[in-house]
């Protein structure tokens, strides 16, 4: 504006006469004007540079905080593991801890009413809950109830964590948006549900995730669509849910825009609030997830300023709007203020803007009031405080730091209001994550280098790498980093394994990978188990053979080894490996020991009576077909047998503790045997896959079958549960892979796809989730292929 003014005055004199002095004067004035403009531009440029640097710094800070949070996550995980092992040490087998476990299946049952009750409970008595939860989680094992509660709490934490690690992208701008929208939607949904007299659980959850997944722009704009419509939409199209990549893309776009159009560069506020929350996180680490979400919730108010301009009378529009970067008048002011400080005239806020803002404020007040159910007085107070902050920042040119302090003060205030929201979210997260799963898995990479049926696969627990063992006698280690990163490359490219492990003289039946020990293991029909060193991720396919990779061979089984499992916990000096063999025995090996690796061995009846039955010949007895360690009770392991029986053994003593009632369809032949047995990662639940196409769920403590379902068109060959413990993936010899929602009582099939082509009456032979990257799933099949799936 002022540029225009300065341009206008010199014009008239030049038009009057063209005398030399006047021309000179004109030229001089023009030159001066030009110089001034150039100065301004320079200043503006440096300002922009400063701003870019500032934003970059902020991004770095956010990244750091992400790393910080990840560390915390790891700490929590570690603490959980410690706690479990401590518990195992302390616990007597016959102690009264059984009731505690007996209670947990309730949580596993997750009936809709149960969940609803829980969430309501949380909402109403959050403060109470928190104080209860914190001490119990600090001192677990006091009483069964507290233990169950603390476990529940930790489980929720873990889910929270896995959600965050799954979708936390590079910048906070992209990480933050989904959560607030989800919360808000949840809330409105719940209200709607209450109004319509309650809905079933699904309708409660699907829309939540739909909004959380940052729906595509067209959907965003459909602001006036009633809640119920959206709900049915969400129900009908679960595939729309939880696509984190789009969020990232969008966010990245937004970030770019931020740099490109600095005048529109928006919302430094949310970023700062994050920092504020971090401070609060430090002060009370035990309630870590709560402050995190607090920041999410406090963000909408800052955004709403703008997003409501379009549709100021529809609350839902705001609820849904996951816009990460908008033109915010506030930050615009901020920007101008900074310019002025650098020697520029202050462009005062013009009146229309102000009135607009007032409108916005009223709308905002209504919204916030609606959402958080707070009294108008309280709201007014907050708004006042908020305005003050704004004025401080814009008018008085206070430093950023001061503003930050103000913001965090406001945050604290908001935190009081929003924690129960956060808690609610935690409660519903179990359901959310479950509905996150329906996102379709799509094949991303196919690994075709094996010459025969791929019998077993194992992901690297932290890296994008996978181990595959095949009937061709080789085990191959694949680096998926580039293939998963670049879609074009993955589509047409042929990925070579970075290493091929040879050593067995017959087909490989099972593989295992221990990242802590940097080792991998393979079991084979040739009766041996072999341990190899893990090759570095950057190894070339055709590098020199390193003889030191061949570490050791565990010899002891007298018949084909059919499965191996690593003990879930490993210490530097010890890593247990369990193996089962057609010779009828279960053996436990210590893979790190210097001496004899074989720790213990027992047959069908356990260690107690093994000597008695040995005379009759263990070869005649039932043969183990699968094994699994129990992550919820580290002293025990389950073994399935060819007579369709599952037994629970004590790892240390080999004592036969419990026989599961798992053989109801056993008909005396191997046609009804169990092919695979796994344990739920967080609940005392055992899942078995049967040759006669059943999948059954058992309670670990009682051995009672809690659910049984026919699942495939042919034998179930492989099972895995996703790291969050909500979805069961099963592979069958009908060549299909199916995903089951095990959090619901119906246990519906979420997705089904043809995994592999059949060869020799076999189809899919192995399914595996990545334990820390929930977006990765792999299958191995009779067609010699390994397929990697991603979710989108």
């Amino acid at each position: 504006m002022h540029q225009f003014q300065s341009f206008a005055p010199p014009q008239p004199p030049t038009a009057a006469e063209y005398a030399f002095p006047s021309v000179l004067q004109f030229l001089q004035s023009e030159w001066r004007r030009f110089e001034r403009d150039r100065n301004e531009w320079d200043i503006e440029k440096s300002e922009m540079k400063a701003r870019i640097a500032f934003l970059e710094g902020e991004k770095r800070g956010v990244d750091n905080s992400k790393i910080d949070l990840m560390k915390r996550v790891k700490m929590l995980e570690f603490a959980l593991r410690q706690e479990r092992s401590k518990y195992v040490e302390a616990k007597d087998d016959n102690s009264a801890a059984v009731p505690a476990q007996g209670q947990l299946p309730l949580a596993q049952g997750v009936t809709p009413s149960h969940v609803n009750m829980k969430t309501q409970n949380r909402m109403s008595t959050y403060g109470q809950n928190m104080t209860q939860v914190s001490p119990t989680s600090a001192t677990p094992g006091l009483d069964p109830l507290g233990r169950a509660k603390s476990r529940e709490f930790l489980r929720i934490c873990l889910q929270e964590i896995s959600y965050l690690t799954a979708s936390v992208p590079q910048s906070i701008a992209s990480a933050m948006p989904p959560a607030p929208t989800r919360l808000v939607r949840n809330e409105s949904d719940r209200r709607a549900a209450a109004a319509t007299g309650g809905r079933n659980r699904k309708s409660d959850y699907y829309p939540a995730t739909q909004s959380s997944s940052a729906p595509p722009p067209p959907l965003n704009r459909a602001s006036s669509v009633p809640v119920s419509t959206l709900q049915s939409f969400g129900k009908g199209k679960p595939a729309m849910n939880s696509s984190s990549p789009p969020i990232e893309d969008k966010a990245e776009d937004a970030t770019l825009r931020q740099f490109a159009v600095p005048h529109h560069a928006a919302q430094p506020i949310p970023n700062r609030t994050t920092k504020g929350s971090e401070e609060s996180t430090r002060t009370e680490p035990i309630v870590k997830p709560a402050p995190l979400i607090t920041t999410n919730i406090t963000k909408p108010p800052t955004e709403k300023m703008d997003s409501e301009k379009d549709s100021s009378d529809d609350t839902d529009s705001v609820d849904e709007d996951p816009v990460t970067v908008v033109h915010s008048p506030l930050s615009g002011d901020d920007w101008h203020a900074k310019l002025q400080r650098a020697g520029q005239q202050l462009a005062l806020q013009d009146k229309p803007k102000k009135s607009k803002k007032a409108e916005d404020d009223v709308q905002l007040a209504k919204d916030v009031q609606d959402k958080f159910n707070i009294s108008p007085e309280r709201l007014n107070k907050m708004v006042k405080e908020w305005d003050k902050t704004k004025l401080d920042g814009g008018g008085c040119q206070k430093s950023m730091r001061k503003k930050k302090a103000k913001d965090s003060a406001l945050l604290d205030e908001l935190a009081n209001l929003t924690v129960n929201e956060a808690e609610t979210d935690m409660g519903t997260r179990t359901g959310d994550a479950a509905t996150d799963e329906p996102a379709r898995w799509r094949p991303k990479v196919t690994l075709r280098r094996h010459m025969d049926t791929v019998r077993s696969i194992a992901f690297h627990p932290t890296k994008k790498a996978i181990l595959s063992g095949s009937e061709d006698g080789t085990m191959k280690f694949w680096n998926l980093e580039t293939a998963l990163g670049d879609s074009r490359k993955a589509a047409g490219g042929e990925l070579d394994p970075i290493h091929t492990y040879r050593g067995h003289t017959k087909g490989i039946t099972a593989v295992a990978l221990s990242a802590d020990q940097n080792k991998c293991f393979s079991a084979s029909l040739d009766r041996t188990i072999r341990a190899y060193g893990l090759v570095p991720m950057n190894k070339e396919t055709y590098a020199r053979l390193d003889p030191s990779l061949n570490l050791s061979t565990f010899v002891g089984h007298t018949d084909a080894v059919w499965d191996i499992r690593l003990f879930p916990l490993s210490i530097s000096s010890s890593q247990l490996l369990g193996s089962i063999s057609a010779d009828g025995t279960v053996k436990i090996w210590d893979t790190e020991t210097k001496g004899s690796p074989l720790k213990s061995s027992w047959s069908y009846h356990g260690s107690d009576v093994s000597s008695a039955t040995a005379s009759t010949g263990p070869k005649q007895g039932p043969v183990p077909t699968g094994l699994a360690f129990c992550p919820t009770d580290l002293k025990k392991m389950v073994v399935s047998y060819s007579n369709s029986v599952i037994k629970l053994f004590d790892i240390e003593t080999g004592k036969d503790i419990l026989t599961f009632k798992s053989n109801e369809t056993y008909d005396g032949t191997t046609g009804t045997q169990i092919n695979k047995v796994i344990c739920h990662p967080t609940l005392p639940v055992v899942v078995s896959g049967h040759e006669d196409r059943y999948i059954r769920f058992f309670d670990l403590t009682s051995g009672v079958c809690s659910y049984s379902m026919l699942t495939h068109l042919d034998a179930v060959s492989s099972l895995d549960i996703d790291p969050a413990g909500l979805v069961l993936c099963s592979g069958g010899h009908d060549a299909s892979v199916r995903l089951w929602d095990i959090a619901s009582t119906q246990r519906t099939c979420l997705q089904e796809f043809t995994g592999h082509r059949r060869k020799g009456n076999e189809g899919v032979c192995a399914v595996q989730y990545h334990s820390t990257m929930p977006e990765l799933l792999a299958t191995g099949g009779a067609d010699s292929l390994v397929k990697i799936y991603t979710r989108s």
Binding site: R544, D583, T625, Y641
Partner: protein, 280 residues
């Protein structure tokens, strides 16, 4: 009885049509779709029948827990009865399992089959079994013992690298085998198992030529292992007969003296040390 009360037996409804998964299994598909509302006892009956996709009444696969002596214990099936995308391979593997030394039967082309597809399956199978030869060689054929890849008086450069390298013998063997496996599994060259594109047929020769060197090295430098392995599998015999009958290897490249003493003239001609790097 408590258990019975809790068990709910339902055939789960699956969102997508089961026909996609059961193209090779039409009998099962019909079975299960008609079964959706059936009682547990019906399910049991159906489940038993589901396993009977073969004539023997039991699925022909090695279940977990199968003992050594029971592995692959199912009767030889005629090729026509194998309904699978891998029929040729299954048939070939069952022939080999039946009697690995009956080489003539194994390499003879089944009637009505594509010559090149059969050859392809054979080469795949040979690569597979060569893995085991290398496993046997590995303890003995170390970089110290065999620092160069030699076979009789020939020396070979490893062609799997961008520029051929003088890999030590064991590296050469593994690289060659990995390279051959990669080539055979490459969908660009071999997109189908039913027929082989004309342009890819020439790859058979280079693959065979390289695989031959693995045998040659074992024969000339690790004769004990070679003989033991040969006695067990007749792999070299199979490979040689296959290569000759299909003209994969020219006679002058055959440097291993005939094992059966019936024809010892081949391979005597070539007598100079050569660098065979990228002639393919």
């Amino acid at each position: 009885m408590l258990m019975e009360a809790q068990v709910q037996e339902t055939l789960k409804h699956v969102p997508t049509s089961p026909t996609t998964t059961a193209t090779t299994q039409s009998d099962l598909t019909t079975d299960s779709t008609g079964e959706e509302k059936s009682t547990p006892s019906d399910n049991k009956a159906a489940s038993v029948s589901s396993g009977t996709s073969s004539a023997t009444g039991r699925p022909q696969r090695n279940l977990p827990g199968t003992k050594d002596e029971c592995l692959y214990q199912w009767p030889q099936r005629p090729l026509e009865s194998i309904e699978s995308a891998f029929a040729l391979r299954e048939y070939l593997q069952s022939l080999i399992r039946q009697d690995p030394h009956n080489v003539d039967l194994i390499i003879s082309l089944p009637s009505g089959q594509d010559e090149h597809a059969w050859l392809y399956e054979h080469l795949c199978q040979i690569c597979l079994e060569l893995n085991y030869l290398i496993v046997h060689l590995e303890p003995e054929c170390t970089p110290e013992v065999c620092p160069e890849m030699r076979a009789e008086e020939w020396m070979y450069y490893c062609a799997t690298h961008p520029t051929p390298r003088e890999c030590c013998a064991i590296d050469y063997l593994t690289h060659t085998l990995d390279g051959a496996s990669a080539l055979l599994n490459n969908v660009k060259f071999f997109p189908s198992r039913i027929c082989v594109p004309e342009g890819s047929v020439k790859n058979f020769q280079s693959i065979a030529r390289r695989l031959y060197r693995i045998f040659a090295h074992a024969y000339f430098h690790h004769r004990d292992i070679f003989d033991a392995f040969e006695a067990e599998t007749s792999l070299y015999d199979r490979f040689l007969k296959l290569s000759r009958s299909r003209k994969l290897i020219t006679d002058k490249l055959i440097i291993i003296p005939s094992l059966n003493n019936d024809d010892d003239s081949t391979g005597a001609g070539a007598r100079q040390i050569m660098s065979r790097s990228r002639e393919d």
